[in-house]
């Protein structure tokens, strides 16, 4: 099938640095994406520790109010735009061509362009900290008119987000073409690995939703710099328009941030249960359903603006619970009757399922409109976001790293350190974020730099801060495991986990051109079929 002829000058070896900079190889780009996004995970994490330090005690003056607004805004912006959204492009870049048995992405050069748009955008966004007026400080939601008031850091933020959006839009087109056009012989759409399916729906969401965000940001930029009045009621504009357009993108975006994580978990659970994913087609349709419904619920972030058709958006939001519930059943059904082992990737996958379950349940509170009137913009919503994005997405990221590390780097991460990492992170996460439910119910609004002693929120905040630092500590065994792995030779076989999908049919790491030969694809588990070619169990 599709293969890319790479002209080679014999005898000439590019210096390694140049090789990384000039590469159009999807695997190398995937690795670059992973390094880049994990770097910003660390940056965002440090900002989060600053936030938690400030909030640990009442009436604290560790950072000032202005600095606090910049810190939490940049924490969210880094975590969403520079970590979680592009990290899936990293996994996708590395894995999609391998999983469908292709030699590369459909447009390797455009792929390199997608990646190289990220570093300048990240730099630009963070350079806000050194300009007059500081970095963007209006929240990652940049609500107008507040976003009209702040300094040039906000303009830098706007441009950075537009560039990041362009990167993910062209990346999405690349993924779609790759999956539609370059699948191995025999791989019908319904034999595609489930991670690819989640990348496919994610790419569709990015293609359709991200340009809307770009339009909104351009309007905001015009309002700020050229006297536009899109969001200015004094000039006939409409303040709530910003929120409508922003959430029209950003609700689908929350699925952009989690669907590939669901895909990773749905790769890991079957392998370590030694059973196929339970209800593969139901999972695919649920993913498509979430993607579609995701476009009709945006105003549930705006129930308290008084300008939302409450029954419609309440209903659609509840309906999203249906495909979400289907997935929980998919995962349970996969475990049920299996033969389950618990290496580190599996622990993170199970962590994902249990934490995402809570994230779905506490989302339901906000879907019940009158309850949302109480909980909106309180720490309850902060708990919800983190149960889905941290307990969900971040656990999936680490599950994926432990799972594919042998494939990508040819070495295995130490199991003991991995388990320690998981336990510390799981406990730290719950200690950090569960108390936020109580704080929200007790009336603590989000995005406040200080709270009064008399509010009575100190004990729970202190607890939460302790949990946040425990999460930071959990990174130590992970980093040690990575260093230890890189000190050892590449010793991993093609398929160390007895897995199902095509990336395990080639060497670890794979050669430049990916495959010497492909096994026949007769189901969504070609490697399982190859291992049990007598037909047993099918």
């Amino acid at each position: 099938m599709a293969s890319v002829a790479v002209p080679q000058l014999s005898g000439y070896q590019r210096p390694a640095v140049l090789d990384w900079i000039m590469t159009v190889d999807h695997k190398k780009l995937g690795i670059l994406y992973l390094y880049f996004t994990l770097f910003f995970f660390a940056v965002g994490g440090i900002l989060a520790l600053l936030v938690r330090t400030q909030l640990a005690v009442a009436d604290n003056s560790f950072v000032g109010n202005d600095a606090y607004n910049q810190i939490f805004t940049m924490h969210a912006s880094a975590m969403l735009f520079l970590f979680i959204i592009p990290v899936w492009a990293g996994f996708g870049n590395y894995l999609v061509p391998l999983q469908i048995g292709a030699a590369d992405m459909a447009f390797p050069r455009i792929n390199a362009l997608s990646f190289w748009m990220l570093p300048p955008a990240g730099l630009l966004m963070f350079a806000g900290f050194i300009v007059d007026g500081g970095a963007a400080d209006g929240g990652w939601t940049a609500y107008s008119p507040l976003a009209q008031q702040t300094g040039v850091g906000m303009d830098m933020w706007i441009i950075a987000v537009i560039v990041l959006g362009m990167s993910s839009t062209i990346g999405a087109a690349n993924f779609l073409v790759t999956m539609f056009r370059m699948r191995a012989p025999g791989m019908t759409m319904f034999r595609m690995p489930i991670f690819c399916w989640t990348m496919l729906v994610t790419a569709l969401l990015q293609l359709l939703a991200t340009p809307v965000l770009a339009a909104a940001l351009v309007m905001l930029f015009i309002d700020r710099n050229y006297g536009g009045q899109f969001f200015d009621p004094n000039g006939g504009g409409n303040v709530v328009l910003w929120q409508n357009v922003f959430w029209f993108y950003s609700h689908p975006a929350v699925y952009i941030m989690i669907l590939p994580g669901m895909g990773i978990v749905s790769e890991i659970l079957p392998v370590f249960s030694r059973k196929p994913l339970f209800g593969y087609k139901a999972f695919v349709f649920a993913t498509i359903g979430i993607g579609g419904l995701g476009f009709s619920v945006w105003a549930h972030h705006m129930f308290t603006t008084g300008s939302v058709l409450l029954p419609f958006f309440g209903f659609m939001t509840f309906m999203i619970g249906v495909p979400t519930g289907v997935k929980i059943f998919n995962w349970l059904g996969t475990l049920w009757g299996g033969s389950i082992s618990f290496p580190t990737p599996m622990l993170f996958a199970l962590g994902f399922v249990s934490m995402f379950l809570i994230g779905g349940i506490n989302g339901t509170y906000s879907a019940a409109v009158p309850v949302d009137f109480a909980l909106h913009d309180t720490y309850f919503v902060v708990a919800h976001i983190h149960y889905v994005l941290f307990g969900g997405s971040v656990f999936a990221v680490f599950g994926g790293l432990y799972y594919w590390f042998p494939k990508i780097w040819g070495r295995k991460l130490n199991e003991r350190l991995g388990k320690l990492h998981f336990v510390l992170m799981f406990v730290g996460f719950n200690v950090a974020f569960f108390p936020m439910h109580m704080l929200g119910l007790d009336g603590m609004p989000r995005r406040i730099a200080v709270y009064a002693d008399s509010a009575g929120w100190e004990a729970l905040n202190m607890l939460s801060t302790g949990g946040a630092f425990l999460i930071a500590v959990s990174m130590i065994p992970f980093l040690i495991a990575v260093v230890m792995a890189f000190m050892r030779p590449k010793d991993q076989p093609d398929d160390p986990w007895e897995a199902n999908t095509l990336e395990w049919a080639t060497t670890s790491p794979p050669p430049d051109y990916n495959f010497d030969s492909l096994p026949p694809v007769r189901s969504e588990r070609p490697l399982f079929d190859a291992r049990h070619s007598n037909g047993e169990g099918h």
Binding site: Y143, P145, G279, F318, V322, L357, T364, D377
Partner: protein, 270 residues
């Protein structure tokens, strides 16, 4: 692959982990009921909160228990391959049906609550005009619009204006509907009184309003819930719910001070 029986320690870890989470969830939700809100509307919302909580806990406990059970019961005990079950039409239909029933039920109940809350709105209620600004509040009372049973002590409007350092006090009578008119001229703020279990945004270019009937007297702390700039965290205020006669006395006193027309109240007050 090596056989991996689940070590006892790990089993213990899972069991205690789940027990701890259940306990945490229970205490968390239990702590939530304490105040329960002080208005008729809040009580309705509180009921809905409990219905959602019970449904949520039921789902959590059932799914959580199934998860833990599966992990223990179906842990790998040998190399023999388990039955390769892919799913089936009936069970997949149930996977859709169960959540459909749950979410439609919850949606219906929420809408019933929403309608009940809206029903409470009344025209002749006392109206308080709330203006949010960076970074405090103004509460204005029009002397023509003080509720059904008050004769205006004067013409005009009395206003309470706060500063970030000095939280303004919103005084309102108990046991009668009070309407809040919400306005802003700079950025978006949100009028959030935790004990109303309610918040509504103040949006430039738009006027929002809502009505509540408070059933308890006392001082209740409240604050802005929408990020509005540097001192957003200091946009605090106090809602003081008092008996009607106390409210009338307070109005008369403020009118005397602000409008200079009051003769009924001595100026010596606090």
């Amino acid at each position: 692959m090596r056989r991996v029986p689940l070590p006892r320690r790990l089993r213990l870890f899972f069991a205690t982990g789940v027990a701890a989470m259940l306990a945490l969830a229970a205490t968390g939700t239990a702590s939530a009921i304490q105040p329960g809100g002080i208005t008729d509307e809040a009580r309705l919302m509180n009921e809905l909160f409990w219905i959602v909580t019970i449904a949520g806990l039921a789902v959590f406990v059932l799914v959580g228990a199934a998860l833990v059970y599966a992990m223990i019961r179906y842990r790998r005990q040998g190399d023999e391959l388990p039955p390769q079950f892919h799913g089936g039409a009936k069970i997949e239909a149930a996977m859709v049906g169960v959540p459909v029933v749950i979410v439609i039920a919850l949606f219906t109940i929420s809408m019933i609550t929403l309608v009940q809350i809206d029903d409470k709105a009344e025209d002749d209620a006392l109206t308080i005009e709330v203006t949010g600004f960076q970074f405090s509040w103004q509460f204005a009372y029009n002397m023509d619009d003080l509720g059904t049973n008050t004769d205006a002590a004067a013409e005009g409007t009395i206003a309470i204006i706060g500063t970030p350092q000095n939280d303004p006090v919103l005084v309102m009578p108990v046991d009668e509907p009070v309407e809040f008119l919400l306005k802003s001229n700079d950025v978006i703020h949100s009028f959030y009184v935790k004990d109303f279990l309610y918040k509504l945004d103040l949006i430039p270019g738009r006027e929002n309003s809502f009505t509540v009937t408070a059933r308890e007297t006392g001082d209740f702390s409240a604050q802005c819930a929408e990020l509005c700039g540097t001192n957003h965290a200091l946009m605090r205020f106090v809602v003081r719910v008092v008996e009607r006669d106390e409210f009338d006395a307070w109005v008369a006193e403020e009118a005397a001070r602000q409008l200079g027309t009051g003769t009924r109240v001595s100026a010596s007050g606090q």
